[in-house]
Subunit: 379 residues, 2 copies
């Protein structure tokens, strides 16, 4: 017998209350039964996104939301700036290019955060740039980019949209959509929101809606204008993901009960404990600056394959963390503390890691990482 | 937010596969649909009890099974021997006396196991004794009584029944019902079997069925002869606990997949790690000899109320262990490793205990108990 622990940066575990809500019979998405369900989800998402604007609910993964953030607001040939500091920065570039946009990249070394002044000088020196694309948390490197600082820069440019992929940062980080001037922010269900995969959430500012009017990119499924019109009637454009939206209401209820400030504090506390425990084991963070509250990326010790650490944790101890992506594959492993995560998820991850490292022949003092985690977590 | 961990000696956590099976629609207990369900449960229980005899399935807690083990086989005025080494030994005495039996007790100091030779001499010196009642695991003290040794003694007495309360020992300990001459063995659903509370299981030997014919104790609900007749037709005497019996089949499927030997080894391994971790923290076992594989009973350190340790674990860390019962209340706390339990349940319990002890001002080196547990669990 092997109990399973899901400590990956998405999908994340779903709380029992939410699982139970999904056992309810299906209701019809065009029937009056569904109106209050969608209305409640709409209001809950506004609260979570810290925005007065509507947040669209799309039946897709987070990537679908990212696609919509491109094909509804830009046109082929238009110039945009993409912060590329990892696998998901790369994805912005790929999506933009697939719609014929002229992408200018700010390449950031993996493990580092973008320097906001680099964005400032790019916008100053090239007035053709019409959008800045960034990740809040770059999941592949565990870096949190300073969204507030970048937002304050982009704000100054009336004809530039600020587009944030907050898929893995939402719930774990305090992101003030309206206050920081985020025009389009994308979230996903299977991360901090503690839901199964299948929903993308996208907030859109008035500034972005205005620009949308000029966009000529082809679109059909991710047609945000139609989604907006449907949302005004507490509907979605195509068939609503009824069960996932019922679950979304349950998840938001849990977050509201805890309180947004406490939710952020919990994630910061778990991330801090994980990082310090990992360092106490003599390991080196892969994230060199601005580590996120969502996921901790750690360098595999000299001579040990990072994928082997991931695999041994999973197969011997039932703990599903994550390995490395792209060029970090083999060099790192990652442990998430995102969503339905608490004290003993960190303890489990660190205890598992201690046993795995020892069994792979790496010198480690059993209990030393856990001791550091406990010290922080019991405060 | 506080995640919950159930590490009590019953009820114990129910595995997801079993929870899901209970979401199936109710079927009627007298319809043909139910016949194969009950037949499967009957066969599964024989396998688990290591017996060729039928195992009755009663809609009650384990205590109901204990009552039936008295009122179906004995008569008022008959003399029986009860091993009383804790709260559940006391319960045998109370049940026997409530049916007018003449109880002779072997009192065993709490935390110690009965000396089989004491039972031998009692049976030798008093030929009126017609039954020996014992616990396999005395849940209140964490002691496992040597059922094999006692069974071999009682076996020699043709007119004495051997009755074992294995409620908290079943699944955690290898108990060979037929081989060891156990005439009546009682189990419960909410312990090692990983089910919700609500079912008692009772195996009955031919020797016991023969004695039952002479019993004059009043009975109606716990009428084992009628249950036996119903069981032969894959039925129960009264309404079957349909959902719990469906779940029973799922739980047995999980145990069969793991294999009985592996199930026992897992419990022994978890119990061993828990005991050694507790000792590494400088604590003293309350169980002075023959510790069970089901639950570990630990003395609260000098000056700290055992109930406060239990309460702090629960309220601050979400871990529901157990305090002390009866005269052990306040002096001890208990941690179970029973049923759906694995490596990180032990780690969670020990890490939680370390933090609780430290926060209560007890000198403890954080991580030292966990280190010892890891050392044992990674073998």
């Amino acid at each position: 017998m092997l109990k399973r622990y899901l400590l990956a940066p998405g999908p994340t575990p779903v709380p029992p209350e939410v699982l139970l809500s999904m056992a309810a019979p299906i209701i019809h998405h065009r029937s009056p039964d569904f109106i209050p369900v969608l209305e409640s989800a709409k209001n809950g998402l506004k609260w979570l996104f810290q925005t007065k604007n509507d947040v669209l609910i799309i039946a897709s993964t987070g990537t679908g939301g990212m696609v919509g953030a491109v094909n509804n607001f830009f046109s082929a040939g238009e110039k945009v700036l993409v912060v590329n500091g990892g696998k998901f920065g790369e994805r912005w570039t790929k999506i933009c290019r697939s719609y014929g946009l002229d992408v200018k990249e700010i390449e950031v070394e993996w493990g580092y955060a973008v320097k906001p002044e680099d964005i400032e000088s790019a916008l100053e020196s090239d007035k053709d740039i019409k959008g800045v694309f960034i990740q809040a948390c770059e999941t592949s490197t565990g870096v949190y980019h300073d969204i507030e600082a970048v937002g304050n820069i982009v704000k100054k440019h009336e004809d530039v949209l600020f587009i944030v992929d907050a898929i893995s940062a939402l719930v774990a980080h305090d992101i003030k959509t309206d206050e920081w001037g985020i025009d389009i922010m994308v979230g996903g269900s299977q991360k901090g929101l503690m839901l199964p995969p299948g929903l993308a959430f996208v907030s859109v500012s008035e500034k972005a809606w205005k620009k949308a009017e000029t966009s000529t990119a082809p679109r059909f499924y991710f047609d945000f204008k139609k989604e907006r019109e449907s949302l005004a009637k507490n509907q979605t454009n195509f068939t609503s993901s009824v069960t996932l939206i019922i679950a979304l209401n349950e998840a938001i209820k849990l977050l509201q009960k805890e309180g947004l400030e406490n939710v952020f504090k919990r994630h910061a506390r778990l991330a801090h404990a994980t990082r310090e425990a990992v360092k106490a084991l003599g390991l080196t963070m892969y994230t060199k600056e601005s580590p996120s509250n969502s996921v901790t990326a750690v360098e595999a010790p000299e001579g040990i394959d990072g994928q082997l650490i991931y695999k041994t944790l999973r197969e011997k101890y039932g703990i599903t963390g994550a390995g490395g992506q792209g060029k970090a594959r083999g060099k790192i492993f990652r442990i998430a503390h995102l969503g339905y995560a608490d004290t003993f998820d960190v303890i489990t991850a660190i205890a598992g890691l201690e046993m795995v490292l020892k069994s792979l022949g790496h010198p480690v003092t059993l209990g030393s990482g856990v001791a550091k985690a406990e010290e922080i977590l019991m405060r």
